[in-house]
């Protein structure tokens, strides 16, 4: 794009740049890093302003937040502690259990909706009625219904991912190019062949899209559920509880540590899904 730099008189020399050179000249990378550095710097200055210039200089909003260096220090302090890592484990366990159940029920349900017209006419309307209710609105009801906190968190997590996955599977299966089905029919495919060889693999991309979105929602829900239900009563814990606890305990540095941790956790899980998607769909990662 931006190679106007070529003067019209330069000879057409063929030269390949090394990968190191490419990295060094990758302006977008440098700009991104610069932007983040500036962001951190401003944050640092903003939150430490009152330390340097006295209490009357406390800036609004940002002045109340701990500085990045303080957060980093708090993180280093907490890093070797087992409790912190237990929170990670707890949250991951909850996310995974709810998510997996949602996949296990959601994918067949979505496929059934897509394949069978009668099934769809019968079950899709109630599904659509329930879908707009935000998953978190289910939290109190599920706390009442399920005998343990753990189960109610799992249930709400499941709901969060379930609706997204079903909608994606249904949409994906119904937009498969009719010519693939026709070609297979011409070659003598049975109904089962059509399902297993065309519809199922054809829906895979949507399944993974749904899973990625569902995973994001799952983290939100788990966190909220942990915070609302107070997490700890039955040996709960989790990153949401970690944040809430730190807040109650007045350690704002730890709150931010918790936020960053959960950001990393969410990022890791969606990367894992993308990686799995690449594995399962080699035809998708061409070129």
């Amino acid at each position: 794009m931006a190679n106007v730099a070529h003067t019209a008189t330069s000879a057409p020399v063929v030269r390949r740049r090394s990968s190191f050179e490419k990295l060094m000249s990758n302006t977008s990378l440098w700009r991104g890093m610069l932007a983040i550095a500036v962001f951190l710097l401003l944050w640092e200055i903003g939150s430490r302003f009152d330390e340097w210039f006295g209490k009357e200089w406390t800036l609004p909003f940002i002045g109340l937040i701990p500085a990045p260096t303080a957060v980093f220090a708090a993180w280093l302090e907490i890093l070797p502690k087992a409790g912190y890592w237990m929170s990670w484990l707890q949250s991951f366990k909850r996310v995974l259990s709810g998510f997996l159940v949602a996949m296990l029920i959601g994918i067949p349900f979505g496929l059934a909706l897509a394949v069978n017209k009668y099934f769809r006419d019968l079950f899709f309307p109630p599904f659509e009625i329930l879908r707009p209710i935000p998953p978190l609105a289910w939290v109190p009801a599920s706390l009442i219904f399920w005998p343990t906190n753990e189960m109610s968190i799992a249930f709400v997590t499941f709901l969060g991912a379930f609706f997204t996955i079903v909608i994606n599977v249904l949409g994906g299966a119904r937009t498969i190019d009719v010519r693939y089905l026709r070609a297979a029919q011409s070659m003598g495919a049975s109904q089962w062949d059509l399902f297993s060889k065309i519809i199922l693999p054809g829906t895979l991309p949507s399944i993974f899209t749904g899973a990625a979105v569902g995973m994001g929602i799952t983290w939100e829900v788990v966190l909220a559920a942990e915070m609302i239900s107070g997490g700890g009563t039955q040996g709960g814990g989790g990153l949401g509880f970690f944040i809430w606890n730190s807040y109650m305990g007045g350690s704002l540095e730890q709150v931010v540590v918790g936020m960053i941790s959960i950001g990393i956790a969410g990022y890791l899980s969606s990367s894992a899904i993308r990686w799995l998607g690449d594995r399962f769909m080699p035809w998708k990662r061409l070129f």
Binding site: M33, F61, Y118, L136, W138, P140, E220, I243, M259
Partner: protein, 298 residues
């Protein structure tokens, strides 16, 4: 494939020669659909679901289900002038909760759109702006909105501001990213054509960038309003005062279950209405898009 089977069904018998318009068309489609199993199955499906719900909670009073209010109990209270558990369509506080939530959503959504759309437009249009702003956005985005609750409470005074802040933040990310994608999806040749025709940069922004990104912007806004509700409910539950999320969690705390269910249903309904409104506004603004899609049979 489905269109083929549908059309063969409608071909026969006493043919109409003129196309019905407006409501008549809907009525005609409804009549046509009566000859297919679809409406019956729909009614049956919803009926079956309600019946199961009733059976589990009220009919058989299965263990644990009996703790959840059944459909009859909910309906009785909801439509009673003297509700047993305090909330019905005749009580003022019911509408107050709805009003408060809607006001918060409106403010948050307006803020997110007002900031997110221009930001996204510039990020999509200018590579430089994108290269600076995008990494920051991407770093903050994976942090769940709920994780911001303590900071929000700390930074903003009162009940109202933190809740609105959280809902705004959630939809801001969605709106900005979708708008940016929208601009990036605009075909290069539109920019070139506009350049050929002698447009200034501002002309290009006004006449190519903005309208070209609109379809994506509205897809983004559809998602964004859903996300806003999601976060609003969460925020109201954790740190609220009034609002539907607060109603739900407050009823739970006070051990009154019927208002809780009423709150859930109302929330679903209001959320659905707002997203329909966004779609209507989108279609109204994008006549060109709607007409083209209609001709493609979508």
């Amino acid at each position: 494939m489905t269109t083929a089977s549908q059309t063969t069904e409608t071909v026969n018998a006493g043919r109409r020669t003129t196309a019905p318009t407006g409501l008549a068309l809907y009525w005609y489609r409804f009549q046509q659909s009566l000859s297919t199993p679809k409406p019956y199955l729909t009614v049956l499906g919803i009926g079956l679901w309600l019946f199961t719900y009733w059976l589990l909670c009220e009919g058989l009073r299965v263990d644990r289900f009996d703790k959840i209010p059944g459909p009859v109990a909910v309906a009785k209270d909801w439509f009673s002038p003297t509700p047993f558990q305090g909330v019905s369509i005749f009580t003022e506080n019911y509408y107050n909760h709805i009003y408060v939530s809607c006001r918060r959503i409106l403010i948050a959504f307006a803020l997110a759109t007002g900031i997110g759309v221009p930001l996204g437009l510039f990020m999509g249009w200018s590579q430089r702006v994108r290269e600076y702003a995008f990494p920051i956005l991407e770093t903050l985005r994976p942090i769940p909105i709920l994780a911001w609750v303590p900071l929000a409470i700390l930074m903003f005074p009162g009940f109202e501001a933190p809740v609105i802040f959280l809902a705004t933040l959630a939809s801001l990310f969605v709106t900005t990213l979708n708008t940016m994608l929208g601009v990036q999806s605009i075909d290069e040749s539109y920019f070139r054509a506009a350049g050929c025709l002698g447009s200034s940069n501002w002309d290009i922004f006004k006449n190519v960038v903005v309208p070209g990104a609109l379809p994506f912007v509205f897809t983004g806004l559809q998602i964004s309003i859903g996300v806003a509700w999601f976060s609003l409910v969460a925020a109201e539950m954790v740190s609220g005062d009034h609002g539907l999320g607060y109603l739900i969690v407050d009823s739970y705390m006070n051990n009154v279950t019927v208002p809780m269910v009423i709150g859930m249903i109302t929330l679903g309904f209001v959320g659905w209405i707002t997203s329909v409104l966004v779609r209507i506004v989108g279609n109204w603004l994008m006549q060109w898009h709607v007409k083209a899609l209609a001709l493609q049979g979508r």
